[in-house]
Amino acid sequence: MSAALASGPMAGDSAVALDGVARRFVTPAGDVLSALEDFDLSIAPGEFCAIVGPTGCGKSTTLGLIAGLARPQAGSVRVFGAPVSGVDRRVGFVFQQDAVFPWRDVLANVSAGPRFRGVGRSRAEEEARDWIDRVHLRGFEKSLPHQLSGGMRKRVALAQTFINKPEILLMDEPFSALDVQTRELMQEELLQLWSANRAAVLFVTHDLDEAILLADRVAVLTSRPARVKSVHAIDLPRPRAIATLRYDPRFIEIARLIAEDLRAEVLKARAAH
């Protein structure tokens, strides 16, 4: 679990590779604020990697760089070996807040991706119906987002992302706004969807339990500027039973180990504020 492991498998065949990445902002007051500094991380194809770290440490910034929504000031961000230059078709993104289109019904929301990419209406809608089934929203095709519960809207967002068959799936605290029971259900559904499509996942969360329940590896970030402090392999067997796994002695052992790591950073972050 040393820094050497942080770069994971060979950078050449990784799905995502960040190398010495820095991302800095200039505050309105003129100060330079460093969100990421000397950031190394790589994710293998089909691997589920979770990132945990103190609040505001730059977890979301990392995802924005991989998605091509922002550029790093130093270092390289690569997707399947090629430097990121703008939005990549193979990348999917699930946002923390609701990002489904409020003026479109569920069917139009889910079929948005294929439609943007030039698929004809009837084929896109046929595909969308299939995904609506898979996220258990059959019968809600004509419902508008505001008529759905938070968990259902999240399912729409998942279907909307998965319909594009992403090979890299970026998730920015997707379930943090949900209540505990809904969150558990959504975690289970996410694992099911993922096991069928096996994208490389980068899952940002502040919930350590969630990270361990879902991921193959958990990366702990330092407080700002964020760096990968340590990477922990999670050797819990799959398929995982979300509801009961957290009482497993091995789970508790891993959680304790990572929690200690994380706690030191959270305290540092608090001291800095």
Binding site: L69, F93, F101, F116
Partner: protein, 293 residues
Amino acid sequence: MANVATLPTARAPDARSPAPEPLRIESLADRQRRRRRLVLALRLAVLVFLVGGWELGVRAGAIDPFFFGQPSAIADKLVDWSVNGTSIGPLWWQVGVTIYEAGAGFLIGAVLGVLCGIALGRNALLADVFSIYIKVANSIPRVVLGSIFIVALGLGSPSKIALAVVMVFFVVFANAFQGVREADKNLIANARILGATRWQITQAVVIPSALSWILASLHVSFGFALVGAIVGEFLGAREGMGLLIATAQGAFDANGVFAAMIVIAVVALLAEGLLTLLENRLLSWRPEKSAGE
């Protein structure tokens, strides 16, 4: 009372306790209906009080009808105009001319305003270059342009339409621009990642989210279009409600001015109703507004 259901409460087992009163349950719908009736009655009362007070004030000699008119005389005037026509021609023709000028100006101004607002809202360079000129143009009292338009475009409709366009454009433009700027960054990022091109983002995210701003501005700006058309007619015209008002003013006919005002108000309210219908249709995706709004 017909709407109040009476239910007997559970009978007390103890015979010594007094007989229970029947429980009165009033449904929410009943209460809302009663409140609506109350509001309507109070509104009517306010109207009767104001108009009646005005009329009584004139009859008692406290208000001079030469300057301030008289409700009954205004009503007579409206009847006279609709039956016998006005001094400058039939009433419906004057109303039609003004509606045509305001409507054409409104449509042109709104379309230009929306197009420019979206173009500048989506393009930072254009916005930076033109924002200064738009600010300057917006700070000019635009009604004054009416004089120029009449000199340049003559006494006919075009000068009135031009003034209405100028009145409408800036309001709609400012709202469309702001609406585009306020579009949810998350939604735009989501659309980008789902594969949308810049133009697709404009269509699928920016315009729908700016639509509520734009529609709100249309409510205000139809009023401005009417003002533009009427002021234009006032400054120089051969027909229209503005000319009718100017003629009444020239004849010291306060009742005529008020009567024309009422006709214009009816036009404005009808347009407002049409715009509300349009708004409800276009924004049907929004959550139902809570009662009372």
